[in-house]
Symmetry: C2
Subunit: 192 residues, 2 copies
Amino acid sequence: MLDKIYVALIHYPIKGKDGSIISTAVTNLDVHDIARTARTYNLKGYYVVTNLKAQRDMVEKMLKFWREGFGSQYNPSRAESLKLVRLKPYLEDVLEDIENIEKERPLILFTSAKKRENSVSFEEAKKIILETEKPVLILLGTGWGLPDEILVISDYVIEPIRGKSDFNHLSVRAAAAIIIDRLIGENYTRRD
Amino acid sequence: MLDKIYVALIHYPIKGKDGSIISTAVTNLDVHDIARTARTYNLKGYYVVTNLKAQRDMVEKMLKFWREGFGSQYNPSRAESLKLVRLKPYLEDVLEDIENIEKERPLILFTSAKKRENSVSFEEAKKIILETEKPVLILLGTGWGLPDEILVISDYVIEPIRGKSDFNHLSVRAAAAIIIDRLIGENYTRRD
């Protein structure tokens, strides 16, 4: 079902450069860019997940400016995309929120720049999304990627973008755009 | 030919909010993100085009930090992608530079978020790129888009991403990623 797809950008728990678990800082343009992509492809929600309250407060202020403040008059399309953003401390809160909305736990799709065993191709993932009755949650990592503790609770791992390339260091803003385009493409344009 | 594709991000001449011709400011993350995408898809060069010398000087400093300074040790993959970046004042300089390298003028592909007459689909554009012997230059706009004076010197106009959607306000970072993925995808991975 293309009409209940959610995306979440995870800032904790995240792998650090040395493999330890860290919180990454929220990048302002990640909030804007992925919200704009999400709105363009008619996703139902975009969760920005950070366990750090100061970071959530900062994003909250920015959202207020664009949704209600001067920004909403200056650039109404920005307000429209940022309406999709929801701030949550933990992935568990995201799952709970989606379950409240959809009355069902979402299928969790894990993404990674690294090739892993048992991953599904984009074609397969697209088919899964089209055929399932369940809501779908696409997880995006920051820093050095999503940790194994998130992998184990995911339903599917999507193959890396450019799996055969020797260089795969896309920004998460670019990766999010490509992943969402490959999974939805021109298929779903109706808006309720 | 997938091995001589270039991309250019234009900051002048650009359409302003009121339709007049303006110079937009260079956004730091546009340089990084599109360089990372260009390198991941093995493009041959990424031109950042701005007529403002102060802006070129600023980008030059940033490039130096990542290519030669502390940044090159801290994050070598960033150095590798930023190697693709070339700064030019005008589109004419880009065309001249490509002509010097390839001994041939490139095919110019114009992109836009607006539906235009005689545009080619992504499938058609992909075929054109695969079949031509010429180098290819993909143009990306900033601000409110590329002006008609650039349209008239272009060889092809590519249809908008999400042409049927009521909302098409992708960031140029996301649009660049989707356009390059749709035109190249997994096809070309070899690196000389």
